[in-house]
């Protein structure tokens, strides 16, 4: 086997400079190695770029693996960090253009605007995304990592930490928007010597991949956020409950935990103080309901992931019946930045009771599919058209689905509504974890409602009767409608049943399951009627049973 050129050592950052000199690089190419670009052979590009740069005799450039650059639609992506120049759809054997661009970079160059997709964003939880090597602790520290934890441990008490989080107005980013400061205080004040912190990384909403990107791009941030939370609530043990469907995220988390333990940011006596905290990973195994906190706890305990009625809430009686703080990935990812920049800074962003920023995953029939973080209060139009680049093929916008299977569909007439927890609920939808799925006139809204109902019945744990039986019956009724075999009585039955399930189901999955039906009925009732009365599917999606077969 021939000697590999030094430049081709793939997984080290500063592929070239590290070998040749310690000076800051003149030019750097950031290659996105998050899951989406990885599946488009991004890693080959890192290797090839290193080889080509070495062949071209460039000794003052850096080729760095980074996390998600955001614009997944154009992957694989490479960015020249000094100029902001972005290369999309890069093929491994077409990296010459990037090498040329690297040659041209001058020390006086400044980052040029990269267009509205990037310029309209405000990055807090994702501030390091696409900037650091996710497997390099030094890189994280260089960009301010662990400053917050050190300040917390040296200057603050658990009370002042909780106070700052409360004042920042941060709310749970997993869906319901429960005030984070209040949750932390409840856990801190709960009776019990042993307490736990759990990071909920069981991102199950179809069409949502924010948490995955954060974990893949900036895993240390989660560990820092968890350590701060643990300090604030007096916990010493933490778990990250992550989907097994995210192997890259799990691998990077494992690496990050190992590095953080070695550097003294996890384990006994963190940052040379008396504070102890360690983290373990628990893998999910393909059950959507485990995103519900009591089900998640059951799963961490090695049991079937079935929810139980609350109260008692996990904050009082959670893992092994001990007080347990459960926060979502994005919530914990916001914590270090808030403590670094101050609660007032964070509370200054956003609108009304929805403070700060929110990460959204743009998907569906939208040009710029990818990951964005915007201030709360931005309008849907800005997100879909300015940032998202509008609808694929210039087709008409029909609806945007938010909140996953417990959410709803928002029609075009509300495009100018500003997005916040409150406004979405008012429109019959839900923030959820932040998936935004854009639909055009090729989607049938009854079919979409049926799709979500199919999801819910499939993911129902089977514990309580309304969810186990009721979701299937809602599905049967919707199926009848999409086949053009339903009557107006069936529609009335659908609405009645949906209302009862919403009130009687045990957990959020069952209580939220009727939401897609409610919201599509609210805004697209005419489509239901078209299927029932006229027996046609306006979008041409559903297969209507011919009249002669029915007779």
């Amino acid at each position: 086997m021939s000697e590999m050129p030094a430049a081709a050592r793939p997984t080290r950052r500063r592929v070239i400079t590290e070998e040749i000199n310690d000076e800051a690089p003149r030019a750097s190419a950031y290659v996105c190695e998050a899951a989406s670009c990885m599946s488009a052979q991004a890693h080959d590009i890192t290797l090839r770029l290193g080889e080509r740069a070495a062949e071209a005799g460039l000794t003052d450039v850096m080729i760095k693996r980074v996390g998600c650059l955001g614009l997944c639609a154009a992957g694989p992506l490479v960015e020249i960090a000094e100029t902001g120049q972005l290369f999309g759809h890069v093929k491994p054997d077409e990296v010459e253009g990037i090498v040329k661009a690297l040659k041209k970079v001058k020390p006086t160059d400044t980052r040029q605007p990269q267009g509205p997709f990037f310029e309209k964003q405000l990055r807090v939880a994702t501030e390091n995304m696409g900037r650091i090597d996710p497997e390099d602790l030094d890189d994280y520290i260089e960009r301010g990592g662990y400053e917050a934890l050190k300040r917390v441990l040296s200057e603050m008490t658990s009370t002042t930490v909780r106070d700052e989080i409360t004042r920042s107005g941060l709310r749970g980013r997993g869906g319901a928007g429960f005030p984070t400061g209040l949750k932390w205080t409840t856990v801190a004040k709960a009776q019990g010597t042993q307490k736990y912190v759990i990071c909920n990384a069981d991102e199950g909403d179809p069409g949502a991949f924010m948490d995955r990107s954060v974990l893949e791009s900036d895993p240390f941030r989660i560990l820092e956020g968890m350590a701060i939370a643990a300090f604030a609530v007096h916990a010493t043990e933490g778990y990250i409950y992550c989907r097994a469907e995210y192997p890259l995220a799990v691998a990077r988390l494992r690496t990050a935990i190992r590095l953080a333990q070695r550097a003294g940011y996890l384990g006994a006596g963190i940052a040379e103080t008396s504070f102890n905290f360690d983290v373990q990973i628990r893998l999910g195994a393909g059950a959507f309901v485990c995103g519900e906190e009591t089900a998640l706890i059951a799963s961490v305990e090695g049991r079937r992931g079935t929810p139980r009625p609350r109260p008692p809430y996990p904050a009082v009686q959670g893992l092994w019946d001990c007080p347990t703080l459960i926060n979502n990935v994005e919530t914990l990812a916001s914590v270090p930045t808030i403590l670094r920049k101050g609660p007032e800074w964070y509370a200054g962003i956003g609108v009304g009771k929805s403070k700060g920023t929110k990460v959204f995953a743009l998907a569906g029939r939208i040009v710029n599919t990818g990951l964005v973080e915007v201030p709360m209060g931005m309008t849907l139009r800005e997100i879909v058209y300015d940032i998202g680049g509008g609808i694929v093929d210039g087709r008409p916008f029909k609806a945007v689905q938010t909140g996953g299977p417990s959410g709803g569909c928002i029609p075009a007439e509300f495009l100018d509504m500003s997005v916040s927890y409150e406004s979405l609920i008012e429109l019959g939808s839900f923030m959820g974890s932040g998936g935004l799925i854009v639909m055009d006139d090729t989607s049938c809204m009854v079919d979409v409602a049926k799709y979500f109902q199919d999801f819910c019945r499939d993911e129902s744990c089977g514990k309580c009767v309304p969810c186990r039986v009721g979701t299937t019956q809602l599905y049967m009724l919707l199926d009848l409608i999409t086949r053009g075999e339903a009557t107006m009585e069936d529609l009335a039955q659908l609405e009645r049943l949906a209302g009862i399930i919403q009130r009687t189901a045990l957990c959020g999955l069952g209580q939220g399951a009727p939401n897609p039906i409610f919201s599509t009925l609210r805004y697209f009732r005419d489509e239901y009627l078209a299927h029932i009365v006229d027996r046609v599917c306006p979008a041409g999606v559903c297969t209507i049973t011919p009249a002669e077969v029915m007779a």
Partner: protein, 163 residues
């Protein structure tokens, strides 16, 4: 005083049991390590047969009926051997509105295999997943661990047939 209890020996001298035993020991050989142990056994053997389930249950002190309850609850665990190759079709929302249904129909038409089934020759298992998080590549599939985005049904079938 609790009755002394000895852990069972590995069912055979297959080296892979060692991996499973190590993972269970790391979890304290307690019932809480059940899901971790099932992950380890499935990684090692490809699927969970009753021998593996019994062994895991007996080591961790979990009743057999509960082990079976947990193994069948989570869709990630499979109790049947899989085909030589696997194709996981994402049925998340983004993939759904971009044609995941057509992919499944295409596979059924060309290769006569439905989700959760294996072709008659044992070559290919087709599975579905509730969102792989690769929504920007919709519709997406995973063929033997490699994500393929923006899938064209014809090309996918050709690729799978060639394997």
């Amino acid at each position: 005083m609790p009755i002394p209890y000895t852990k069972p020996p590995a069912p055979s001298d297959d080296k892979r049991w060692k991996i499973v035993q190590t993972r269970m020991r790391r979890g304290g050989d307690r019932p809480a390590a059940l899901i971790e142990a099932l992950h380890a056994a499935q990684e090692a053997f490809g699927y969970l047969d009753s021998e593996a389930l019994n062994f895991v249950g007996d080591t961790l002190g979990v009743p057999h009926s509960r082990v079976y309850g947990v193994a069948t609850f989570y869709s990630f665990f499979t109790l049947k051997p899989q085909g030589e190759h696997t194709c996981v079709v994402c049925t998340g929302t983004a993939c759904y509105i971009n044609g995941a249904k057509d992919i499944l129909a295409g596979l059924d038409r060309a290769l006569h295999v439905k989700p959760k089934e294996t072709t008659a020759n044992g070559k290919l298992s087709v599975l579905t997943a509730r969102c792989l998080g690769a929504c920007s590549l919709a519709p997406a599939v995973i063929v033997d661990g490699n994500v393929k985005g923006k899938v064209n049904v014809g090309e996918l079938v050709a690729q799978l047939e060639a394997m």
